[in-house]
Amino acid sequence: MLRIVVAFSFLLLAIPVLAQEPASQHAPPSVDYMSLLFVFVLATFIGLGVVAKVSRLLHTPLMSLTNAISAIAVVGSIIVTGADYPLGVRLLGFVALFASMTNVVSGFLITDRMLKMFKQSRPGVKS
């Protein structure tokens, strides 16, 4: 664990080096990359903390649930498919949207299906 954190920190330190903006003719977009980085790091720690507590019984439904959550790529796909972009770009977005939507639907449905099956005791059978 410590090694992972150290390696990760070194990677983060490399980012400011890469992020030197070159002198450019057009105004560079004002994306606040530092905020995004903050969000990423915090979200990762939250994720680690939350998942560590998930019951081992539920690791399979956890994986299908996180599949569905990572299908948040629908959001990016909707933008690329629906905005006023060239046809080719939107075609790629269309396929991406189809793929992510499949994940959304099958991920949540199968997780629910599996979770329905976990019962604490069976009525009528004495242990």
Partner: protein
């Protein structure tokens, strides 16, 4: 929808996602997790769709319907196919990320090159490489799990394999670096195509040398990658929700991978790059070792006399779809006042928690499922250990034989039970390609045959004979 409203909706969705994962900590609250996650997703989709810049609605509707059309049947697969479905899901996730990255690069390089700052370009390259390698890698994994004919089950290795794999990845990264420094140069488009190609091939080559038994770890790692490619998409599109949701998936996959690796006592790099499962040349043992076989009647008699029976399921039970028979057997035993527990090894099956889900489907109460670390101390008190389709997870050689590939892997101490019955399809070695020392011990008796049939016969024997004792 105003930008502020969209961002607020995204914030609510992010919080719901976090709660969703949090509620998975207990089966009692777990179903809320699905509700929360689905609501969050719905909110995110609506908030994005209702933005004024989105105008091609028909396309979106068609894609959403097509997604449902494929997603719904996919969710209905039999539970034994869950590992494959999971792998396919990762493939789609990676594909979506790769495609969106490519689309954005295409768009910006032709209409708005000033968007391609070094940071943005780096994120784009990461998204494309990670996305496409996850796509092909996961498809390979799905193929191995489904045991498709032309995808070899055993690890495929060749000389200099690791060098070529790493070399390919390094080449893609190098090209990516060049792109970052010069996103709109003459050869930029060509470089991007090459990067995509290399990533696709690398995904395949990465998974080929990994054997079926290592799939739980591989699937967890691919899960993480799919999440990380969504994070990269978030950086490219300046979207915090993508980053949060992707990070949740990424860390989940990371933790599961760590658990799996610890459970096999191997490191990531060993799993990915240390081709496991090469069949060792059969060593000439001095004496011809023999199994002790037992009849159904004999096994039933021993079972009836027991106080504590521990059932140890493995991949073989999944393949034979024997979980329902197993539960019937447990019912027969419990009727006689015998305590029945199930010992679950973390890497039993083909994905984390696989056995738990199969047994839950068979109506086994989850209070009877016990983790390996908890049940091992009780194994000496166990009267009968019933090994059903488990092999490497109960092989005592892992404790002392330094030459075996599974050396050091924590196992379930089936050999410490007072008697062991092992149900096995045939005399062939398992995926590790080695003999299982458990089968040759004094107190072990084999019941050869298909797990479903053998357990079914045991049930019949126990229910038929109960009137006579």
């Amino acid at each position: 929808m105003s930008p502020t409203l969209v961002q607020l909706a995204y914030l609510v969705a992010a919080v719901l996602f976090i709660f969703s994962m949090y509620w998975m900590n207990d089966p009692k609250t777990a179903r809320r997790a699905v509700m929360a996650g689905a609501s969050a997703m719905g909110l995110a989709i609506l908030a994005t769709w209702l933005q004024p810049s989105i105008i091609h609605h028909i396309w979106i509707i068609v894609a959403l319907i097509a997604g449902c059309a494929v997603g719904i049947p996919l969710s209905r697969v039999p539970l034994t196919a869950v590992p494959q479905r999971t792998a396919i899901s990762h493939a789609f996730g990676g594909l979506a990320a790769g495609l969106v990255g490519t689309a954005k690069y295409w768009l910006w390089s032709s209409t708005a090159p000033e968007q391609l700052t070094q940071f943005c370009m780096t994120a784009l390259v990461v998204e494309v490489i990670l996305g496409f390698l996850t796509f092909t890698g996961s498809l390979m994994a799905a193929g191995k799990l489904q045991e498709i004919k032309w995808i070899p089950q055993r690890p495929v290795t060749y000389p200099f394999q690791n060098v070529t794999n790493i070399g390919l990845l390094a080449l893609a990264v190098l090209l990516g670096l060049l792109l970052v420094l010069n996103p709109t140069g003459v050869f930029a488009g060509f470089a991007m195509v090459l990067i995509i190609l290399f990533a696709l091939v690398f995904g395949v080559l990465l998974i080929i040398p990994i054997g079926g038994a290592d799939m739980p770890t591989v699937i967890s790692i691919l899960n993480s990658y799919a999440g990380l490619s969504a994070v990269a998409m978030g950086f490219v599109l300046d979207n915090k929700l993508l980053i949060v949701a992707g990070a949740l998936d990424g860390s989940s996959g990371l933790i599961l991978s760590i658990i799996m690796c610890r459970a096999m006592n191997r490191s990531f790099t060993n799993v990915l790059f240390g081709a496991f499962g090469q069949v060792k040349a059969a060593e000439a043992t001095g004496t011809q070792r023999s199994y002790k076989a037992e009849t159904i009647e004999g096994a039933a008699q021993v079972l009836e006399q027991a106080n504590l029976v521990v059932i140890i399921p493995g991949y073989g039970m999944a393949v034979a779809q024997a979980q329902h028979r197993v539960r019937e057997l447990a019912d027969q035993l419990k009727k006689r006042g015998i305590t029945v527990k199930y010992a679950i090894h973390p890497v039993a099956g083909r994905m984390p928690g696989h056995m738990n889900v199969l047994l839950a489907e068979a109506d086994v109460p989850y209070s009877e499922l016990v983790e390996m670390d908890e049940i091992n101390p009780d194994m000496p008190q166990c009267d009968v250990a019933l090994v059903i389709g488990a092999n490497d997870t109960v092989n005592p050689a892992a404790r002392y034989d330094k030459t075996t590939p599974i050396y050091g892997m924590p196992i379930i101490h089936a050999d410490k039970a007072k008697a062991v019955f092992a149900i096995k399809r045939s005399k062939n070695p398992g995926f590790a390609g080695i003999d299982n020392e458990l089968y040759f011990q004094d107190r072990t008796y084999m019941l050869f045959g298909d797990a479903k049939a053998v357990v079914g016969d045991l049930v019949k024997q126990l229910s038929g004979g109960s009137g006579m004792h």
